[in-house]
Symmetry: C2
Subunit: 529 residues, 2 copies
């Protein structure tokens, strides 16, 4: 029996962290502050401050496996927390500041967070749930420069009180390093806990040539919040390769982001479609105002990007790239890079590929399952997307398996709740959420497909299709439409437009026109509202 | 105590293998046959045949942990063995066909190989050591199409006798998947055993944007033999991303390689410097004969590439990229990609960076250790390169730790035997092998540095500097020089040339002119000869 002679070397964030000052000491990390000024420092500064934060947390009694909560925007201090907490064996617990105060309190209590690190500009939010939670210590990052209110610990004083000279605790790669609660619209939020191992392998999956191709030559601006599935893992992937990192702080409006992208020469960015739609509107309303890096990659996930948006950005030499994932999948599950065999397709066919969610990333296994069992990869057979892999959750924090039965299959795959088809080439295309399918008569109607079809109309800026109960057909689609700037589309023209492409039974019975659509805490359309 | 909720999903080659037909079924694998014809098939064909080979080996009684030896060139059947053996839990043992028959026999017996898969064209080599070994079964790949001699198993019949329908055995990611013996010039060959885990993480390390940036868009031609540190891991990395793979078979002369690179539109290739020197000579002797892919990456490792060679290839728009590794390191240890902060350097300075061995790859930790202890990264302080990481060996197969004491430090790092400096930016530069340093008086002279300096002379094609005993200085350098085509350099002009750059005590006392230099089994200069 031949046995491996390889070293037993754990995959931990400590290695990634220790590598930064040696190889990328002079590379910059830039953060937009609440007053819109730019905070700049280097990986070397980051390293020294993070060592201090880790040391101070150890001195404050934080032990292995303890969750430490953050309530913070995207900026350098949050990045410090991203590493300081895991390298002492504790667990980074990012709180989603867009949830209701009640939900945040529930999550803090469920996770049993002992310490909170919070931006001073977010103290008003903390005030709204502080009576429902009891932190041992609340550490405030004085981003505004104003004195930290009494009763709180000043982050800067906290980290300056120690030397940063401490010994790392022994960490097993399967130890927890971070946690994130789902923000599902149904049921209580559920906690997903990442390990050092899963986070490291996930980072390797993101920096591959065929996925984000993230490099030390990149300038990375994650628009997706650091409290949302670890900002899609980008702070870890970016640090792994030593990319210049640019954080937008609380300024997520299109103009602020575009100013920052231009000034810092951003080459890759990531966020949900609503962000990119706003960016597109700003660019098209202000021709020539921003000089962005040609070919800048804009990773889109969270919900499906409309194909017309991908086309529109191409005209500006900005490349929208689709990905798919969820909190439960760390989150990278699929990534839409075109295979060389698709090079000979027509432009239209290529765009239809680019609007898909993409190929499964290595080590993410995917399958499509319907009531009939596993479906073939034929581009037509719909079913639920089920996944498994080393960075996919197999359970939820403190949730007894019997209460999570609907989330996992008996053979151990995660049920994503997304309805998809996979084509012969292996590209996954979401057709809907299981709960967003409209059951009209015996037929299923994909609200997502209808939304994208309506969005293709030049007079339309936004669209949501929802199911309304119907005495005869069980459910029928209703479209909620946001007209484009200065346009007044009528229900009749939209109906005609859809009938050119779809059978009558699929076309919504009614069109309602509104000024804007309600969004969830992570920027998706909130259909129940 | 918060615990990870991630799935327990092993990092095995089985996942990489199972992914290929689903995502890359139509991509080609091309092999040069002994008669120089091209064998072409797809990943789907590869998948089906590999399943059959795995099945047949199981039926032949191969058990988990059993070593299965190969004596093969680079081609499709070797790739089949690369996966079929590991996916049934057995251990791929690639025999280095350039070793002496005695050494091969020693290695086979030491590893206790039970089965051999051998190219029919290599049977004459097998005949030279078959009396010293006893395989249960010798399976012959009929590459020439001629009937397989009596007493041997025909590979094609072997795999066609089964269906390929079998259940995978349970594999732990730390189970062995492959082994390779070092071909060191001192002492007996020693066995390094790779695990599924180490091989998979290593593959992730190779496909990163900042290392080989290997993609499904690449056409990969590994010149480095598949019996040499797993062809630097490229067959696994290439299959991970679904690159088109091109194998040169036994035809490793410059013209055959150039023909193949042109015909198959190769974008990335890898080998030792002697291969590239031969390629360069062929290109320069036949201007315009081969139309290669502009910017083709040529990964060089095994020994230091002369800087003039890197410059010369740039003129042909072919990009030499330096890497460093050894059998013990899977082998990727460092990779020479230029940091963006070096963009402002002069051309000459950039070339001097590109001739270094590069930055440590993520999860490979490096340090420089001399008699004084750990040396600073200042570009000047020399010492032995020591490494550790998840794909670095921590021991040798069946070798008691006390017999490997000189290979590992007490705190568990591998001693590479290479003398290096590391600069402030983190670039590793080999100055010599510990055993190739020349100790003249109290000073150390780097034979490697002198060799590269001599190679820079226009009348020189090859150079080796060796130590000769000296009564007064202990050792003094002697240069063995191969003149360039049609040139007759004199000792005097070479001495003058070196004195322009080096102090007198560093310049060799004597210059000997020869027609060619003896090479080791892996293409390095064999100095003891």
């Amino acid at each position: 029996m031949v046995k491996s002679t390889m070293m037993d070397f754990p995959l931990t964030l400590t290695h990634i962290f220790e590598r930064t000052p040696k190889l990328f000491g002079k590379t910059e990390i830039v953060s937009r502050m609440p007053d819109k000024s730019l905070h700049r420092y280097t990986y070397r500064d980051f390293y020294e401050r993070t060592r201090r934060l880790a040391h101070a947390l150890l001195e404050a009694g934080v032990k292995k496996g303890d969750p430490v909560a953050t309530l913070m925007w995207n900026h350098y201090a949050h990045l410090e927390a991203y590493f300081a907490i895991p390298i002492i064996g504790a667990v980074l617990h990012t709180l989603n500041l867009r949830l209701s105060p009640d939900d945040i309190a529930y999550i803090v209590n469920h996770a049993e967070d002992r310490i909170l690190i919070v931006d001073d500009v977010l103290l008003p939010l903390y005030d709204r749930f502080k009576d429902k939670v009891s932190f041992e210590k609340v550490i405030v990052v004085p981003l505004t420069g104003k004195p930290v209110p009494e009763g709180y610990v000043d982050y800067e004083e906290f980290i300056q009180a120690v030397s940063g000279d401490f010994d790392y605790p022994q960490i097993d790669e399967r130890d927890a390093c971070g946690m994130c609660y789902t923000s599902g619209t149904t049921g209580r939020p559920k906690g997903v806990v990442y390990s050092h191992r899963s986070t490291v392998i996930h980072a390797f999956g993101e920096v591959m040539a065929d996925t984000m191709c993230l490099s030390m030559r990149d300038v990375l601006l994650p628009v997706v919040p650091m409290f949302h599935a670890n900002s899609w893992g980008l702070p870890y992937s970016g640090t792994l390769v030593g990319a210049k990192q640019v954080f937008p702080g609380p300024h997520l409006d299109a103009e602020s982001l575009l100013d920052l992208m231009e000034a810092e020469k951003v080459t890759i960015t990531a966020g949900v479609p609503t962000i990119w739609l706003a960016i597109l509107n700003a660019i098209e309303s202000n021709p020539g105002r921003w000089k962005l890096t040609p070919g800048m990659r804009m990773i889109v996930g969270g919900s499906a990007a409309p194909e017309p948006m991908i086309r529109a950005f191409d005209k500006h030499n900005l490349r929208v790239i689709h990905a798919w994932g969820m909190t439960e999948t760390s989150p990278l599950g699929t990534f839409c890079t075109l295979k060389p065999s698709l090079d000979s397709l027509s432009e239209d066919e290529k765009y239809s590929y680019r609007a898909k969610q993409g190929l499964p990333v290595p080590f993410v296994e995917v399958r499509v399952v319907s009531d009939r069992g596993e479906e073939p990869w034929d581009g037509k057979s719909m079913g639920e997307l089920q996944v498994r892999g080393p960075w996919i959750t197999g359970s939820y924090h403190k949730l007894p398996p019997e209460e999570a039965e609907d989330k996992f299959t008996e053979d151990g795959w995660l049920r994503t709740g997304d309805v998809v088809v996979i084509d012969e080439e292996g590209y996954v295309k979401i057709t809907d959420r299981t709960k967003d399918l409209i059951k009209s008569g015996g037929e299923w109607i994909s609200s997502l497909e209808l939304e994208n079809a309506i969005l293709a109309h030049p007079k339309v800026k936004g669209a949501a299709v929802i199911a309304v109960p119907h005495p005869k057909w069980m459910e029928r689609p209703l479209a909620v439409v946001v007209p484009a700037e200065g346009e007044k589309p009528t229900a009749e023209e939209l109906r005609e437009f859809l009938l050119a492409k779809y059978p009558k039974w699929m076309v919504p019975d009614a069109f309602v026109f509104v000024d804007e659509l309600p969004l969830t805490s992570v920027g998706k359309i909130h259909k129940s509202v």
